[in-house]
């Protein structure tokens, strides 16, 4: 018997929090909130420069570079002022980091290795794009809410201590493999979908420009292990086909609030959905949706045409990609 995997799972009354930064003001009135309601007034400053601390100070991935910082979060720093200092090799080596610009220091991404230097402040209004209930405001957790969410399981993600919160930003059309050349200047507050494949250099550029986390369908396992930044992979490693039927639904969540949970390896999208899930168990295989794990059709989603119980092979119709005979052990049954 097979379990029918729910690619988009519905959670009702999911409890989560929207983190608040210094200067953020909660505008919600009453307990209930609906789409379009005023949510927050955010104090945001322009991003003048992001510095990747482990890279500049030449730290090991598990070394914890924040201990070398000599300034405090929110402190104003002049251009050329000493920001961090690392002494190594028995005090023989001294690595110093001087601030490249003047501005206010923001350490909200320091656990990911980044220090942001901010410029002038501006106010912006955030409106709700979901329906839910406000459960309170907590000085540590932020705005506590319960709402319906859509959950997607990642194949793997970088382990993060906290939930990462942001708006789902889709790069390009969401279906094209991109290079860093098309990137905008500022991705702060965004969890960025880069498309079906992620190259390391694109991820690094996105984090340099303030991205909270990066989502992709596939990337090289070696690059994933090297990068050490908050990334979630939804499909697999290497050249994995990202099927259009998955992408169409996923891209419909563009600009929604999302929470990336690296420990649970799940992505929560604050959104209502009209998905009608079928039962968990598949006992009759014909006409069921499957995703292939066979090397030649990896990642393709199709429908079962025939199942031969004696050989355990299944004939699958992949639409334009044709039909394939695949062992049932290389198919995952999906509810899409």
């Amino acid at each position: 018997m097979e379990i029918r995997s729910r690619i988009f799972e519905k959670y009702t009354n999911y409890q989560c929090s929207i983190p608040l930064k210094d200067g953020d003001r909660v505008l919600v009135k009453g307990k209930k909130i609906k789409e379009g309601d005023l949510l927050l007034e955010k104090s945001e400053s322009t991003l003048k420069k992001s510095i990747n601390l482990p890279k500049v100070l030449n730290c090991k991935s598990n070394e914890g570079s924040e201990k070398y910082v000599l300034k405090m979060d929110g402190e104003y720093i002049e251009k050329g002022e000493l920001l961090a200092q690392k002494v190594s090799s028995g005090r023989l080596n001294l690595t110093e980091l001087f601030s490249p610009v003047s501005g206010v220091l923001d350490f909200s991404r320091i656990k990911q290795g980044y220090i942001d230097i901010l410029g002038e402040e501006r106010k912006s209004i955030v409106r709700s794009d979901f329906t839910g209930t406000i459960n309170g405001v907590d000085p540590i957790e932020g705005l506590l809410i319960s709402t319906d969410v859509v959950c997607i399981d990642g194949v793997v993600s970088s382990k993060t201590e906290d939930n990462l919160f942001g708006n789902l930003k889709i790069l390009g059309d969401g279906n094209t493999i991109l290079t860093e050349k098309i990137l905008e200047d500022d991705y702060r507050g965004k969890i960025v979908w880069v498309g079906p494949y992620l190259y390391n250099r694109v991820a690094i550029e996105l984090f340099e420009r303030g991205a909270v986390a990066v989502l992709t369908y596939a990337m090289s396992y070696t690059e994933f292990r090297e990068i050490g930044l908050p990334i979630m992979i939804l499909g697999g490693f290497g050249s994995v086909h990202c099927d259009g039927s998955f992408l169409k639904k996923f891209l419909s969540f563009k600009n929604k609030f999302v929470i990336m949970n690296g420990n649970e390896n799940q992505l929560f999208i604050l959104s209502n959905s009209d998905f009608k899930h079928r039962g968990w168990f598949v006992s009759q295989y014909e006409n069921q949706s499957v995703i292939s794990r066979s090397p030649s059709t990896y990642g393709s989603i199709g429908k079962v045409l025939e199942y031969d119980r004696d050989t355990s092979f299944v004939l699958v119709d992949f639409g334009k990609r044709g039909t394939s005979l695949i062992h049932i052990g290389l198919l995952d049954f999906v509810d899409l």
């Binding site: 018997m1 379990i3 292990r225 490693f237 006992s283 062992h327 049932i328 052990g329």
Partner: protein, 421 residues
């Protein structure tokens, strides 16, 4: 003719939840016509691996599971007269009803508590058992006795858990049980392991290749059920060999004289399902550094986990025929009688006849403790000496009660189990 309970038709469903799999085995037995078979099914819970801490395992989930199992086995399991309350359909005949359902949950199964408690709440009709090291010790020791081997080595091989259990008969007749385990805490460590120089020594492909690393990572992350990729097959073979060898080398004292005695090797888990028999043999023989003569059993459907205990407990309770005979009467056809070991059986003798002849013989090596003969014969006569009952006490001596009232309840049930209807 009355039918002994052991000869009655029955079907028993045993479900094992272990290593993110639900393995179901439904055993049907009709010994009167020598018909016995086991229907098997495996359900991979991996698609739920990130949801197991949610409230997935609720009443609906288990209802749906048994519902689907009915379709897969084409066997009525649920009594639908009870609506939403799960009740077992009592055994009637082949394909209708089960004598009982037992669910065994491995204590190493992720979110064991959620699963165990959900089943406990789901139905009182289901017998719940925990598979832990103690369970395995009893099972392995029991198998040594039951199957008459001197040495049994059981390799339970999954990617994230490698367990080796061994039961070895010592010179004093006792069975020594040892176990060793390797647990991978997370998938990333397991994936990275393919780059280790130790593993490379066993590989016939170059694992530094980016493509191979990606394929191995996908295999672990998605939990393949079948391998069509020769390179992956090679990695799994090398990985299995190295895991077994490392276990053996770091626990030398637990693996002394391996293969030197009358030895059986059992293999279970996911890896035996993925590897071809040739690769599996290479891994086991080279990993355990075996030579000599041994029997090897591959349990791909977890039958030994599910029915092994029943098999050895049955042996322990000596539920075999210890006496068979016939009652000859003047009015009726000859009437066959049997008696089981471990039970106290009382046969009512027909009273219409003037005379009855009762003949019987001890079977299966059973002897009277103080008599040399094995056959009995006597006559019941209304006018001389009329017997109302024939009592066969097949319980082995000494008869021990206790230590707890619960133990006594179990014993009294076993002793009474052989009585005729």
């Amino acid at each position: 003719m009355d039918i002994l309970p052991v000869l009655k038709k029955n079907s028993y469903l045993t479900v094992l939840i272990k290593d993110n799999y639900i393995s179901a085995n439904l055993a049907y037995t009709d010994l009167s016509v020598q018909r016995t078979y086991v229907l098997s099914d495996r359900t991979d819970l991996s698609p739920l691996k990130f949801r197991l801490d949610d409230i997935v395992f609720n009443k609906e989930f288990w209802f749906e599971y048994f519902n689907s199992l009915e379709k897969v086995f084409d066997w009525d399991i649920i009594d639908r007269e009870w609506g939403d309350n799960f009740k077992i359909k009592e055994f009637e005949r082949e394909e209708v009803g089960v004598t009982g359902i037992k669910v065994i949950v491995d204590d190493n199964q992720p979110f064991f508590k959620n699963i165990f408690l959900s089943l406990k709440e789901f139905s009182k009709d289901i017998v719940l058992r925990i598979l832990d090291d103690r369970y395995m010790e009893v099972l392995v020791k029991g198998l040594v006795n039951r199957l008459e081997y001197d040495d049994i080595v059981w390799l339970d091989l999954d990617f994230s858990h490698f367990s080796i259990y061994r039961g070895k008969k010592e010179k004093d007749g006792n069975i020594k049980f040892v176990l060793t385990k390797i647990d991978w805490a997370n998938e990333i460590g397991l994936i990275d392991f393919v780059k280790s120089s130790k593993l490379n020594a066993f590989l016939s492909v170059d694992s530094s290749s980016e493509d191979i690393l990606n394929r191995w990572a996908n295999c672990i992350a998605h939990g393949y059920e079948y391998i069509s990729d020769a390179m992956l097959n090679d990695i799994i073979r090398a990985f299995t060999t190295l895991q077994i060898l490392s276990t053996k080398q770091s626990n030398k004292e637990k693996f002394d004289e391996l293969g030197k005695l009358n030895t059986a090797i059992f293999i279970s888990g996911k890896i035996p399902q993925l590897l071809e028999i040739r690769e599996l043999l290479l891994s086991v023989i080279d990993g355990l550094e075996l030579d000599g003569v041994f029997d090897l059993f591959v349990d791909r459907e977890s039958k030994l986990f599910t029915y092994g205990r029943s098999m050895i407990e049955k042996e322990e309770s000596k539920s075999k025929i210890i006496f068979s005979g016939k009652i000859y009467s003047q009015l009726l056809e000859p009437h066959e009688i049997y008696s089981l070991g471990s039970s106290l059986e009382i046969f009512k003798l027909p009273s219409r006849d003037e005379k009855l002849l009762i003949e019987g013989e001890l079977k299966n090596g059973t002897v009277f403790s103080h008599l040399s003969f094995k056959q009995i014969q006597y006559i019941s006569s209304k006018k001389v000496l009329e017997y109302e009952y024939l009592v066969i006490d097949g319980r082995s001596r000494p008869i021990v009660y206790g230590p707890s009232p619960h133990d006594n309840r179990v014993k009294l049930r076993i002793w009474g189990n052989g009585d005729k209807e």
